[in-house]
Subunit: 298 residues, 2 copies
Amino acid sequence: MIIDLFIEKIKEKRNPTVVGLDTCAEYLPASMLAADDGPKSVSRKIFEFNKAVIDEVGELIPGVKVQIAYYEMYAEYGIEAYKKTIEYAKSRGLVTIADAKRNDIASTAAAYSRAYLGMSDIGTKAFDADFVTVNPYLGSDGIIPFIDDCKKYDKGVFVLVKTSNKSSSEIQDAKLSDGRRVYELTSDYTAEWGKDLIGKYGYGAVGAVVGATQTAEAEKIRKRHPGMFFLLPGYGAQGATASDLAVSFDKNGLGAVVNNSRGIICAHKKNPDVKYYAAAKNAVLAMRDDLRGAIAGL
Amino acid sequence: MIIDLFIEKIKEKRNPTVVGLDTCAEYLPASMLAADDGPKSVSRKIFEFNKAVIDEVGELIPGVKVQIAYYEMYAEYGIEAYKKTIEYAKSRGLVTIADAKRNDIASTAAAYSRAYLGMSDIGTKAFDADFVTVNPYLGSDGIIPFIDDCKKYDKGVFVLVKTSNKSSSEIQDAKLSDGRRVYELTSDYTAEWGKDLIGKYGYGAVGAVVGATQTAEAEKIRKRHPGMFFLLPGYGAQGATASDLAVSFDKNGLGAVVNNSRGIICAHKKNPDVKYYAAAKNAVLAMRDDLRGAIAGL
């Protein structure tokens, strides 16, 4: 199962970091850009950048998270770079998370799932990631098509449960008449959606996105659902530290992956004297050591 | 303002229908497909189909809603067809709704907004729709970047409030400790997000997606927020009738648009004796007359 493979890579590298390839023109080294760059040339450069970063840090990490929003800015050219980035990361043995936060109902949810996890209605693959992030606001109708493809193609999803941003409180923390918060309700549905997809380490292929900045909530969800695997965004640029994250991990150092995007791919902006991929590698090593220092059993 | 223009087109055509171009290989006429169609050729055919439908029904409708999930199945080729569909619909004077249900936070939400409503970080446009649908689960941080672009580029958004599917009840109907349901809370935030974008007819450019199947909830939201413009999916294939929708309209026949996707673009499947675009036109005329019969003031 993909979740077992993911855990094995984390154990092997002793590193639960996923590098967030949120690459866009603004984040590229200035030396890579030309004044007349259009969507086509900039998308090609984005893929080149991603490829060099993957080559440099691939040995140190279990996987990558690729945020599609940045690529959509360049329409079809960006999407081609997105597809090639996922393909290249997989070819280098990395687990791939398509961070797309897709959501819709019935046949439309199925179309999204076909694009990210399965096959199109003409039998071709679009992105073929290992995991995709999904938004639960529409309920089971919007999630089951993805779960069906997880079973069929050995894939996984991460459901948005409690996000890392400040205003996640507005809807996710709303208090229900039964005493739960909305994010707890969502976590309970997530557990239900994933009940048939538990791997050999006790963690399931239907995981939860829980902001690394949300220590108290992460602790509550962890107690509620010990076998729920977490994707933790918010380390670094958003302010979460390694000790904030520790509550999400078990005594063997398992239970979650931690994303860092700008802290790694934009490290060259703070270190103009080293090549961008070397700056990314230094940032990955520093983060790995920081996590090893704070998470018991890693 | 775009919402005023939309309303003027609805008044001019006496028709609040938006045609949902959820086009994919499965929905194309069998005669258009070839056994060796790949993502590139099928995407070209999808655009040809959309173009012919727009040419045939464009005079009768105020706008189109283009659901991106289907196009994503064909990766960069599908996205090119998506972009060209939006462009072509605009060139024919139609208001365009990108149905993408995008959601993320901060700079990532901004990247999505740049893709659908604004400009990329290199100053180019990706899809340039008039409206985009967004998912509110992440709260204001996820929505404000879109609102900023609405102000800057004269665009609009539709926020998912109460969706048409059965399991929308799971999270959206959850009862809060203050007596509201989650969808009411969402509608209140939507009103807040849109308060500076009200047009001359009293309706705002920050609208709500409310399932046409959700009559009781639509009535509640309408009372709560009289100036909230609704996008109503669920007519036809999902079972909502014209009389179910009437509660969402004011006495002048304004206040909402009604989407129909498969009932129009797949009409040829039930009418194999007519050309697909003629079948689509017949379906649009039938729906228009059905709505005129049920909505006072139209």
